[in-house]
Symmetry: C2
């Protein structure tokens, strides 16, 4: 780990500090819940990441953030274009839902279609620097396809544990990227446990969310880019969907790092949006941070359907430290948000990707956010990831017409009120 | 049309020249086959597009090419990030298929997941400048979702004609973007004819491929970017899949424009790759350019399954002028190419997007392209567009394992030869 910019790994539960060593994932005292926070020499980083230097920095993707990433060399990152996702001023969407300064950061435009590429890229780069050739994970979702894609581009092997019920289409993407897919005759939790066991047994590297501390370091780059996209300033609010909490935790870490480097004076308020049927963290936030797992959690927004949030402490901390809040929305509100985001901004998001928009709509209705505030909504996944989800969300239908050209004028005049 | 950089519209069949006027799609003498070529003041454009100026040009997306686009103002383009797609040096893929200098241009990374966004963006921008508020098209594929997405981001209306058999998932994307979808009780050709009829009747603007001359101008930007990505030089070969011929026609136009401006000395050889079951243009090329429609044309590479190629003359011209050629591949070869592209480069392409790789594999095997040549393969669509296609292309399967952690070591040792 020589020459890494990391100065220490600090347990997010007990606060104990550790020297960075390979294969250290969680705090030995606190067990798997003790996710380690990665800290850097922020004074040195601040000198290297001054806005004028960033403007002139031609490094593509995440490489420019190397002074506060757990990698030695930006060249270790995958060759794919990760990050640098578009940041759109969405006036017509803003008008429709009551915001005067609304922006959308479209992380569905990452190589495999989700924000998880940021985490997988940093994870794969750090693995490569440690001489590791195989990375494992348990997932059927964006994390696994992202890891497989990144590793494919770098020539690293991946072994993915999936529960036997995993949808064929999602498994297909993993197999396409050349991953070895192990279909566990059991639940997701069985798959998760087996992946940890295999990590131990074979000395593999593990990319499980809420376990490997370097993943958060990848996710935080979304916050760094939002700061950059806003002209090296923080917006007033950043809204994002919340499932296991690792993305909002990553945003919290990113803005905290900017605070530590003196680039912002306060963090933007983080608005964590959960679906009613999967709202463990929103309940915990309202309840003195007491996290109570809900094994039956369910929402049509697949990517945030989580009953046992694995990054709970980081997520809650990010929202508290930013003086943000949680908003809980119904599945129907997410469906409407998906449609309005596509129709008014041209951004087709997966259900979880449109969830922050649902939260913002509700927040305006309840006057939780002022109309004039500068608000960024982070879209975390591409709508093409879940076309079945889009089918459910549709608010309109195709209109059946006859093929006779002679009656076309009459037909269309009636149908379209021309 | 005042202040447009266009100097003339020239019929690609009879060569007759026209002043640019609104709503002129095809040559009045030659009918719908007489696609018009859009020409510019290349001397003036050459001065504006010198490499040193392009390097310093901060305009996002397609805007930088405005001097040779049919628009007055780059600001008219949609706000989405169209173009500027990644250009990857893919060494491991090259080694696997026998090329020493292989590059992949991933146009699946456009906002709606396909190269068609380039054409739709230019079409929508030119419509906006003409004061048009509604664009129509007949399509169930990438062209329609692209048009709907671009128009949604700009507040323009779209009316899309689809045959009643159109897949629900594809129609869902159109509806999400707020398009009015007319499901014609008839075939694709009925839908196409009705869209032309509606264009006439209601004065709508038409985005049908191989009809509206400004679409080709959008597609040509892929060629301009390849030149830019190669350090303002043309590669030796550019390989792309061919269906109705409009994309390879666009590449031909782009490189021809670069030739006209004196930026390249010769065009790269265009390699048009068709699937065996849908190879009208390859047959025509081998047969004195005699195009014979094949109504039963069929390939699993959905986006290039075309029996009546609507941009035949432009496609054939591009291949002839570049001294390129056609290569015909089997569906199984496309499936293998899709898998190898994903596994060796981390690029998940739809079947038509991986087709140029299949063509390149065959071209090496038959020694049609030297191993040392600098070759760019253009991936035209994202794999997430057609996950069913990916399922068919899989060369491997998931491995079923027991959930018992105590037997994991033994199981994996046997299965993975650890």
């Amino acid at each position: 780990m020589k020459n890494l910019p990391i100065t220490e790994l600090r347990c997010s539960l007990c606060g104990r500090s550790f020297e960075p060593v390979p294969f250290m994932y969680t705090c030995p005292d606190c067990g798997n819940d003790g996710i380690l926070e990665v800290l850097y020499d922020y004074e040195k980083a601040s000198a290297l990441l001054q806005p004028e230097k960033l403007r002139a920095n031609a490094l593509p993707g995440l490489g420019k953030w190397a002074p506060i990433l757990p990698i030695k060399d930006p060249e270790s990152l995958p060759p794919l274009r990760v990050g640098q996702t578009p940041f759109y001023s969405v006036k017509r969407l803003g008008e429709a839902i009551g915001y005067e300064n609304l922006f959308v950061k479209d992380d569905g435009q990452n190589p495999t279609g989700s924000l998880k590429d940021r985490a997988s890229a940093v994870c794969a780069a750090s693995a490569k620097e440690m001489g590791i050739e195989l990375i494992t994970a348990a997932s059927t979702g964006n994390a696994a396809s992202s890891l497989s894609g990144m590793c494919a581009s770098m020539g690293l092997k991946t072994v993915i544990f999936v529960p036997e019920r995993a949808p064929k289409a999602k498994v297909a993407q993993l197999l396409m990227f050349g991953a070895t897919v192990l279909s566990v005759r059991g639940t997701y939790d069985d798959a998760f446990d087996l992946s940890l066991k295999a990590t131990e047994l074979f000395g593999w590297y593990n990319r499980n969310t809420g376990f490997n501390p370097y993943l958060l370091e990848g996710k935080k780059t979304a916050a760094l880019e939002i700061w950059e996209n806003c002209g090296y300033k923080a917006p007033d609010y950043v809204a994002v969907s919340v499932g296991d909490g690792c993305i909002i935790g990553g945003l919290g870490k990113g803005f905290k790092d900017l605070l530590r480097m003196g680039f912002i004076e306060k963090m933007p308020k983080l608005i964590g949006v959960q679906a009613r049927g999967s709202s463990v963290l929103a309940k915990a936030f309202a309840n003195g941070d007491k996290v109570i797992a809900e094994p039956d959690a369910d929402t049509y927004a697949d990517s945030i359907s989580v009953g046992l949030p694995r990054a709970a402490s980081l997520a809650l901390r990010g929202v508290h430290e930013s003086e943000g809040r949680f908003v809980v929305v119904e599945d129907e509100e997410i469906q409407k948000a998906q449609a309005i985001l596509a129709a008014k901004a041209g951004v087709f998001a997966e259900p979880a990707g449109a969830t922050p928009i649902a939260g913002l709509i509700k927040a305006r209705r309840e006057n939780l956010i002022p109309a004039q505030a500068k608000v960024a909504a982070l879209v975390t996944g591409n709508g093409l990831k879940d076309v079945d989800g889009a089918l459910k969300a549709l608010q309109t239908q195709a209109i059946s017409i006859d093929r006779n050209p002679d009656t076309l004028q009459k037909t269309l005049k009636e149908l379209l009120s021309l």
